[in-house]
């Protein structure tokens, strides 16, 4: 019986496709490009991949996406699924990959996700597709948008804790500062607090620059046993702890607008790893809107409840700060393309643990935390990765 996933597997390869507007590539093509780049790091052969996990695609909505991707990549794996828990999918896929490897179902799993969301559909199609995530019978007749649902959460946080628009803007500014340091980030032009606060209002209190971008992007990572990872070309990042938690899907059924399931998923991950918030050197949090990493900092125990905004405002989330957050530029600036958005948090965590990222490098990063969430803070998964087995 598997008692814990701690130290059982490692991420040995990570890859990003070309990111931004990539009109000459399909969504599947972006996945393939990222997968090839991830595999090339490891020295593994294509035939070593005997498991594949992917998520979903709005622009290429194949019914059996995981199987379609296997076919596209020429793989005939013994383990395959399409995992759909929204933005939480990548970390949940890491967990499923670890479970499959730890139970001997397969040896090496390719996890990938991505879509051509910037050029594979019009802007209105993109926004309308996301609106369809709202409850079709009890939310859609009221014109609730995804930004609108997150805006309600931001509004409640402001009302309850005094979080300010300036603090929300500080998240966008900090995250963009990090993207400037990332050669493959979609948005690399610095923004100021004034830029954020004068950007187009979307749903009060959120403005355009409080919202994630829309990109063409694919991301991939390769998971294998900790044992096998030792012999590979690339430096492994070991999975120390992982946990998920799901409380609702639609915001009208959310138990609270200020407390979510990240706390429980985080506690499971910390307990498995035998680590706590003070052990984390770098955090890659989900940031579809500026309010989200603020909430996650609080839920995951990095600051007291209500103080996530101040954490950003005082510079603690910046590279060089107390806990650098979203060092690649997050979904606000690096890329957002369906489930690839959160997947890039995993890619960046692995890279930070390997070291050598120049001005983007968090000095002495040995323990990284990744948090993915899906829906309206509905589905959560937290993973803790380490540079050494501990």
């Amino acid at each position: 019986m598997i008692e814990t996933l701690r130290n059982r597997v490692a991420i040995v390869g990570v890859g990003e496709s070309d990111i931004g507007k990539v009109p000459h590539m399909t969504g599947l093509g972006l996945n393939a490009q990222a997968a090839k780049r991830a595999l090339d790091e490891t020295g593994l052969k294509v035939s070593d991949i005997d498991g594949l996990l992917t998520a979903y695609s709005f622009t290429e909505p194949y019914f059996m996406l995981g199987t379609v991707l296997c076919e596209y990549l020429g793989l005939q794996p013994r383990f395959n699924a399409s995992v759909i828990v929204g933005g939480a999918s990548p970390a949940v896929m890491l967990k499923h990959a670890a479970e499959a490897i730890a139970t001997g179902q397969c040896a090496t799993v390719l996890v990938c996700a991505g879509e051509n969301r910037a050029t594979g559909q019009t802007r209105d199609q993109a926004v309308a597709a996301l609106a369809a995530v709202g409850h079709p019978y009890f939310e859609r007749p009221y014109g609730a948008s995804i930004p609108g649902c997150y805006a309600m959460i931001a509004r409640s946080h402001m009302d309850q804790f005094g979080t300010t628009p300036e603090q929300l803007a500080a998240v966008a500014v900090t995250t963009r500062q990090h993207a400037v340091l990332h050669p493959n980030a979609h948005m690399r032009k610095p923004v100021t607090l004034a830029d954020v606060q004068s950007s187009k209002p979307i749903a009060d209190p959120l403005r355009m620059l409080d919202c994630c971008i829309i990109s063409d992007a694919g991301g991939a990572f390769i998971v294998t046993s900790a044992e096998r990872a030792k012999d590979l070309r690339s430096k492994p990042a070991y999975l120390a702890g992982i946990g998920e938690f799901h409380t609702h899907e639609h915001i009208l059924c959310a138990p609270s607008l200020t407390e979510f399931g990240a706390k429980q998923s985080g506690m499971t991950a910390y307990r498995m790893a035998g680590l706590g918030p003070s052990d984390i050197d770098v955090a890659e949090l989900y940031d579809c809107f500026t309010i989200v990493p603020i909430l996650e900092l609080e839920e995951l125990g990095f600051c007291p409840r209500g103080e996530g905004g101040r954490f950003y405002e005082e510079g603690h989330a910046s590279i060089g700060g107390k806990l650098p957050v979203n060092t690649h530029g997050g979904m606000l600036s690096h890329a957002h393309a369906g489930a690839a958005g959160g997947l890039f948090g995993i890619v960046e965590a692995v890279r930070q643990l390997r070291g050598g990222l120049g001005p983007r490098q968090v000095q002495g990063a040995e323990v990284a935390l990744v948090h993915n969430e899906g829906g309206i803070l509905s589905s959560h998964c937290t993973a803790i990765l380490t540079s050494q087995l501990r």
């Binding site: 409850h135 079709p136 939310e139 859609r140 009221y142 948008s145 930004p147 609108g148 805006a151 979307i202």
Partner: protein, 135 residues
């Protein structure tokens, strides 16, 4: 060209809810076994899984639990309505539902506001519950 605002779609779980809305009545589900109320109508009680459920009529009074003012509509049908308020309403009977806050003072909505139900006509003779602020 303005598009009509979406009409509600009834299914087997919600048929009575939307039928009552046509008569300006707001129904909610109550479990006869554990006594709890819930909003999204379904086959069983989400608290205790009893299937012994009844419809009760809500007083139509509630408070604003959370809200936003939509400035950019995500669905083209709502483009002519911006800016509009989307809110979560805690009904006096317990459950939480989503609605718009209507009325001339809608943009002054605050969390905790007392509101009461109104019924807004949509296509094909349907109506949907909406709320106005109590003054």
């Amino acid at each position: 060209m303005t598009q009509e605002l979406p009409a509600p779609i009834a299914n087997a779980d919600s048929e009575e809810y939307w039928a009552a809305a046509r008569d300006d009545r707001l129904l909610i589900r109550k479990c006869r076994s554990c006594g709890k109320t819930h909003f999204l109508p379904r086959h069983l009680c989400p608290a205790c899984w009893s299937t012994d459920l009844e419809w009760i009529e809500s007083s139509g009074h509630g408070t604003v639990h959370g809200f936003t003012i939509i400035r950019r509509a995500s669905l083209p049908e709502f483009a002519t309505r911006v800016p509009y308020v989307v809110a979560l309403i805690d009904l006096k009977e317990g459950p939480r539902m989503m609605a718009n806050i209507l009325g001339e003072d809608a943009l002054q909505t605050k969390i905790g506001d007392a509101v009461e139900v109104r019924f807004e006509a949509r296509a094909e003779g349907t109506k949907i519950p909406q709320f106005v602020r109590k003054v």
